[in-house]
C-alpha cells in the first residue's frame, strides 16, 4: 500500500457531494473507514457470527478468538505490557467515565482535587464534574498559553498536595497542540499523582508506547482510528484494574453469583459487562492492521507535512486567522475568517464538497478563554492530500467573496 493512493482504499471517496469530489477534512471528529474494515463487519455477521466468551460451540469459540485477537493487536499497537490491560468500552467517553467513576468511588473524598487543563474536550471534563457533587472534590484547570499550548510549568503550578489525579489530552482537537505528556507524567508521578491521558486525537496520529510513557490510563476512540463507531479502548495499568471496583454489573463480568453475594471475574472481563460490540471489536482489528501496513511513522510524517503545508497556505491568506500555533502541532487547522461566522463557512465549503467542522468542538472552556464563540476546523487523516488543502483555501476564498461582495 502506498500512502499516495490511499484514498482508493476508502469507498466513501467514490461518492460525490453536491456533484463534487469529497474533500474530507473532519477526521478529528470521526475518520472515514477503509474497505477492509467495512468488509470485516459484513464477513463477521454473514459467516462467523456468534456471541463471545460464553458458549462452547464452534462459532462461539471462533468468535471469541477473533475478539481476543483484537485485544492483542491493540496491546501490541500501544506497546502495553499485558493484553489484560486493554478494556473495550463503548467509546473513549465511556473509558474516561469508567476511570472517573471507579477511581472517584474508591480514592476520592471531600476536598480532594482533580487537575485537568483548559484544552480538554468535554469528555475529559464532564465525567470528572459529577465527582464535584457526589464527592465534593474540586477541579482545577491548568492554563493554556497564547499559542494554544500547555506547558509543563502550567501543570506544575496547579499541582497541590490535594491533587489526586491528573487528566490531560495528548493532542488538542482545537489548537492541535501535542503535549509533552511523557514529561508531564514524570512530573505527576514524582508527586505520586496518577495520570489519565485522553488519547482520542493522539492514538490515530502518533506512535504510542504505554510502557515508555508510563501513563496510568489512556483512552482511545476507535472511530477516529479508521475503525467502527460504538467502540473505545481503555488502557490501564494492571494494578489499577485489579484495585479499582467494577464499573458496570451484568453478565460476563462475574466470578460467582450467589444470593448472599457476588464475586467478580478476572481481567479484563471484570470491566466488560454484557454482550460487547463484538463485530466492531473484530473489525477494529482490521483498522490496526491497516495502520500497521502503512506504518504509523509514515502516517505521522505524511500528516505532519500536510499540516505544515496547510498552515503555510492559510497564513498567506490574509483573511484567515489560524487558531493556535503550538510548538508541536498535529493535524488540526482551526481558523476564523474576518466577517464570516464559522457556520456560514462550513455551509459554503460544503457546497464544494469540503467537509469541515464549525462550532466549539466540545471545548467551550477553551473557546471562552480564546474569546471566541466558535471556530472553523479542518482536520486531517491519512487520506488527505495537498490538493485537498488547496481546495480548502479556494473554497475559503469563495466565502470571502460571498460575504464581501
Amino acid at each position: 500500500m502506498n500512502i499516495k493512493d490511499i484514498k482508493k482504499e476508502f469507498p466513501i471517496f467514490d461518492n460525490k457531494v453536491h456533484n463534487n469530489d469529497l474533500v474530507y477534512l473532519d477526521s478529528a471528529n470521526s475518520s472515514q473507514k477503509p474497505k477492509v474494515v467495512v468488509d470485516r463487519i459484513y464477513d463477521f455477521y454473514t459467516k462467523e457470527f456468534s456471541n463471545v466468551g460464553r458458549s462452547v460451540h464452534y462459532l462461539a469459540v471462533a468468535a471469541t478468538n477473533l475478539y481476543e485477537n483484537t485485544r492483542v493487536l491493540v496491546q501490541k499497537y500501544i506497546n502495553a505490557k499485558d493484553p489484560n490491560e486493554i478494556v473495550f468500552t463503548k467509546g473513549a467517553t465511556e473509558a474516561i467515565n469508567l476511570v472517573a467513576n471507579t477511581f472517584g468511588q474508591k480514592y476520592l473524598k471531600e476536598g480532594d482535587e482533580i487537575l485537568i487543563t483548559e484544552l480538554e474536550h468535554h469528555s475529559n471534563y464532564v465525567p470528572w464534574h459529577y465527582l464535584r457533587k457526589s464527592k465534593g472534590v474540586k477541579i482545577n484547570f491548568a492554563d493554556v498559553d497564547e499559542n494554544g499550548d500547555i506547558s509543563i510549568e502550567s501543570i506544575e503550578k496547579k499541582i497541590t498536595p490535594k491533587t489526586k489525579i491528573l487528566a490531560i489530552t495528548h493532542l488538542s482537537n482545537v489548537t492541535g497542540a501535542i503535549l509533552p505528556i511523557k514529561e508531564i507524567i514524570q512530573l505527576a508521578h514524582s508527586k505520586n499523582i496518577p495520570v489519565l491521558v485522553d488519547g482520542c486525537q493522539g492514538a490515530p496520529h502518533l506512535k504510542l508506547d504505554m510502557q515508555d510513557l508510563d501513563c496510568d490510563f489512556y483512552a482511545i476512540s476507535c472511530h477516529k482510528m479508521y475503525g467502527p463507531t460504538g467502540l473505545g479502548v481503555l488502557y490501564a495499568k494492571k494494578k489499577w484494574l485489579e484495585e479499582l471496583p467494577p464499573y458496570q454489573g451484568g453478565g460476563g463480568m462475574i466470578g460467582e453469583v450467589k444470593k448472599e453475594g457476588i464475586t467478580f471475574g478476572d481481567l479484563p472481563n471484570k470491566y466488560e459487562a454484557g454482550t460487547m460490540a463484538t463485530a466492531q471489536v473484530i473489525a477494529f482489528g482490521e483498522s490496526i492492521n491497516f495502520i500497521n501496513k502503512l506504518g504509523i511513522e509514515k502516517i505521522e510524517e505524511h500528516e505532519r507535512g500536510l499540516t505544515k503545508y496547510g498552515e503555510e497556505i492559510l497564513r498567506k491568506n490574509n483573511s484567515v486567522k489560524l487558531i493556535g500555533s503550538p510548538k508541536n502541532k498535529g493535524s488540526v487547522l482551526s481558523f476564523t475568517l474576518d466577517g464570516v461566522h464559522p457556520h456560514d463557512i462550513a455551509t459554503i465549503l460544503d457546497e464544494d464538497g469540503v467537509a469541515i467542522r464549525a462550532g466549539h468542538h466540545c471545548c467551550q472552556i477553551l473557546h471562552e478563554k480564546l474569546g471566541l464563540a466558535a471556530t472553523a476546523r479542518a482536520s486531517l487523516g491519512v487520506y488527505n492530500t495537498k490538493d485537498d488543502l488547496d481546495q480548502l483555501n479556494s473554497s475559503i476564498n469563495k466565502c470571502i467573496k460571498i460575504f464581501n461582495s
Binding site: 464570516v340 464559522p342 457556520h343 459554503i348 464549525a358 462550532g359 464563540a373 460571498i402
Partner: protein, 156 residues
C-alpha cells in the same frame, strides 16, 4: 442546492449590520436563547405597554449570518405589534420555515414579506433551520415569561 438562495443580499446585509442590536434601559420582558450545538446566543429585550403592544424591541447576541439576520428582521417586524399579532406572525414564520411555501398572514406589507421570505433558503439546509428559528423561539419565551433559557436541543 444554491448558496444564493441561502445567502441572499438581504440576509448578508442584516447579518453584517443587524438592526435593533443592543439593549435598552426600560425593558420589561426578556429571554435568552442558546444553540448548544453551535454556540449561537441571542437575548431578546422587550418593552410591552399596557395594551400588550411591543413598543420597543432589541436583541443582543452572536451567531452566524442566518441567526443574526433572522433576529434583525424579526425585531423590525415586531415593533408596534400587539400580542395577538406577534403570535400570528411567529406562527406564520415557523410554519413557513417548516412546511408552508409562503407566508399567509396579512399583517405585514408585501415588502416585509419578501424580506422575511429571504430566510426561506434555510429549508434546503436542515442543519441551519435552527439558526433561523432561535430568535423567534426566544421571542415566544420573552412574551410568555417562560423561565429559563430557550435551548434549540430541547424543543419538541
Amino acid at each position: 442546492m444554491d448558496l444564493k438562495d441561502l445567502y441572499q443580499e438581504i440576509i448578508l446585509d442584516h447579518g453584517k449590520n443587524p438592526r435593533n442590536l443592543g439593549k435598552f434601559e426600560n425593558f420589561n420582558k426578556d429571554a435568552k436563547g442558546h444553540n448548544p450545538l453551535c454556540g449561537d446566543k441571542v437575548h431578546v429585550y422587550l418593552k410591552v405597554d399596557e395594551n400588550k403592544k411591543i413598543s420597543d424591541i432589541k436583541f443582543e447576541g452572536h451567531g452566524c449570518a442566518i441567526s443574526m439576520a433572522s433576529a434583525s428582521i424579526m425585531t423590525e417586524l415586531m415593533k408596534d405589534k400587539d400580542q395577538k399579532e406577534v403570535n400570528e406572525l411567529i406562527e406564520d414564520f415557523l410554519k413557513m420555515i417548516k412546511d408552508n411555501p409562503e407566508l399567509k398572514s396579512n399583517l405585514i406589507s408585501e415588502d416585509d414579506k419578501t424580506k422575511l421570505m429571504s430566510l426561506s433558503g434555510v429549508k434546503k439546509y436542515p442543519m441551519r433551520v435552527k439558526c433561523a428559528t432561535l430568535p423567534w423561539h426566544t421571542l415566544i419565551s420573552a412574551m410568555t415569561n417562560k423561565p429559563g433559557e430557550v435551548n434549540t436541543e430541547k424543543e419538541d
